[in-house]
Symmetry: C2
Subunit: 328 residues, 2 copies
């Protein structure tokens, strides 16, 4: 039996709650506590036994944490927290601002390396599992094209935009992969498809009393950037239906690579996620990478890491012997 | 630019030919030659510039090979060749006798470790990519069930059995995943499904002159072990159709894990391969792992390894910096 991996959660929104739940499903991991910027007394956790601390409790010397899972946002939390905390703890984050990942990596690496900590950045599913599949499939089929499709998934930004339309009392927006585009990719065509051509948008809208459905629909589908460039469908529903059927945070998508290994010989690799809860799934990926971070740190592998640097077996609670005997 | 990785191919059947072709698609790799037990003069290679050597040319000291890709069979070639060659070269093999992988690993490790070589065993797609997906998805969704479906794929053993039926002049058999079973798995049921319940069989048969189709069909579908336990369909075709439409070696399949991250919250991870050429695809996986083996050896990581031990970034010809900037 390996030593228990002791985890701290930094930040406690949907993602932090998901991490708390996922640790409960990992017998080799235990939760030291949640660290929050809010008043700890005001935080209600999923588990009744979970301890909640003020975030500055992390400032004192601690020997009860092997790895911190950072559950803040990529816009303002992680650029600051990840390097600051990596200077004292091994960490995992889900930094997802694709264009700024190299900077983030450099900042975290500069903090982690002299401190002898291990920091796995940008985990989750995109970046994360989807990134892995893009690299695996391109390394194996170098001659081909890779397509990422997102959905069916709730889009927070587009739902917000929808709710700002006059006459809309409430609503949500889902992004869907275009079935027609996916079929072309699977058939081995290498179509030149923009993000817009790969996706459609579906809106579920509750009208304000007296609002005209056709006017609202026209307003939505013609909204520049958000809906106008897409094939957008608007469904009108009751407030009760919105409450009953649209409270989840589903997401997912597809990474499809098609290519040839010799002239005319088509090979297709497809990876798909169908998630009923985006934050809970992302949290589950973070927890698996936290296990890897703790193990890499014990093995003396320090500094910033990405999913490309982590040997897959390190994610599993099982031993290398068990994996070889039962999973290969 | 990294130093070129110099590869030798041991054994030259369909798999060896696929490796030769795949190396041609990898600008960072070059082919030292094919090593065969046959008379080298009798071997015609895909590439006109490929050199062919007798296998005992490997017995002399060589400084022109970074890694050998072993393309022999799992029954008698690899159990002998992998340890013997790992004692002098870094190697990659596709040993696929699942039940004996731990023994094979131990034998190869015992040879490779003192020699300072790196030996990645049991790569390909199953074992290999499917094994990876089983471990990734179970590590991320610990509460759930994983299902592997094979097909649509040509089965050599079943095609041979088919051709032994009286009245059959020729034919092939394809294994198909059961769509009904896959839908149950995707829907989050965790059905208890045997290999037989997960697959159906489809036969394409050319009758001998004068043979009675109904008698042949009855004989095939009632064949114990091979066809009787399965939902088997028999199509009768002409010799011309067999020649025209059934010369490929397609294969593939699905690894699907469904589970919950909290009560009632379903998450599904699905990985799919649709391969027009099984040997060419397996060869492509071997070549990517040969790249990783050469890099691990340069980095001082020696001994036997499996796909669980290989950091995904090592499979790609791109640098870690490029991967972080362009693929995360």
């Amino acid at each position: 039996m390996t030593t228990q991996i002791r985890v701290g959660i930094v930040g406690y929104g949907n993602l932090g709650r998901g991490v708390e739940t996922a640790i409960g499903l990992s017998p080799d991991m235990s939760l030291t506590g949640v660290f929050t910027r809010r008043d700890p007394a005001s935080v209600t956790t999923v588990g009744t036994a979970t301890e909640v601390f003020a975030i500055d409790e992390l400032d004192r010397d601690r020997d009860d944490i092997d790895v911190l899972i950072l559950c803040g946002g990529s816009r303002s939390d992680l650029p600051e927290q990840s390097p600051a905390l990596a200077a004292r703890f091994s960490i995992v984050d889900s930094y997802d601002n694709h264009a700024h990942i190299p900077e983030h990596f450099a900042a975290v690496d500069a903090a982690a390396r002299p401190a002898g900590t291990t920091a796995v950045i940008s985990t989750g599913w995109d970046p994360g599992l989807f990134s892995l599949n893009r690299v695996f499939s391109e390394a194996i089929i170098p001659q081909g094209a890779t397509y990422t499709f997102w959905g069916r998934g709730l889009s927070q930004g587009h739902s917000d935009a929808l709710r700002r339309v006059p006459g809309v009392a409430g609503g949500v927006q889902y992004t869907l992969p275009s079935e027609a585009a996916m079929e072309r990719v699977r058939a081995g065509e290498h179509p030149d498809l923009s993000t817009r051509e790969r996706h459609t948008r579906e809106c579920f809208v509750v009208l304000e009393e007296g609002a005209d459905a056709e006017t609202v629909r026209a307003e939505i589908v013609s909204m520049p950037d958000y809906f106008e460039p897409y094939d957008t469908t608007v469904h009108f529903i009751s407030a009760q239906e919105l409450e009953r059927d649209h409270q989840g945070m589903p997401h997912g998508g597809f990474v499809i690579r098609s290519g040839t290994t010799s002239p005319g010989t088509q090979q297709v690799i497809e990876y798909q996620l169908a998630l009923e809860s985006n934050p809970e799934f992302t949290a589950s990926v973070l927890v698996a990478y936290a296990r890897a971070a703790a193990r890499m740190n014990r093995a003396g592998v320090v500094g910033a890491q990405t999913v490309y640097d982590v040997a897959p077996g390190l994610l599993s609670p099982l031993s290398p012997e068990q994996l070889r005997a039962d999973y290969l």
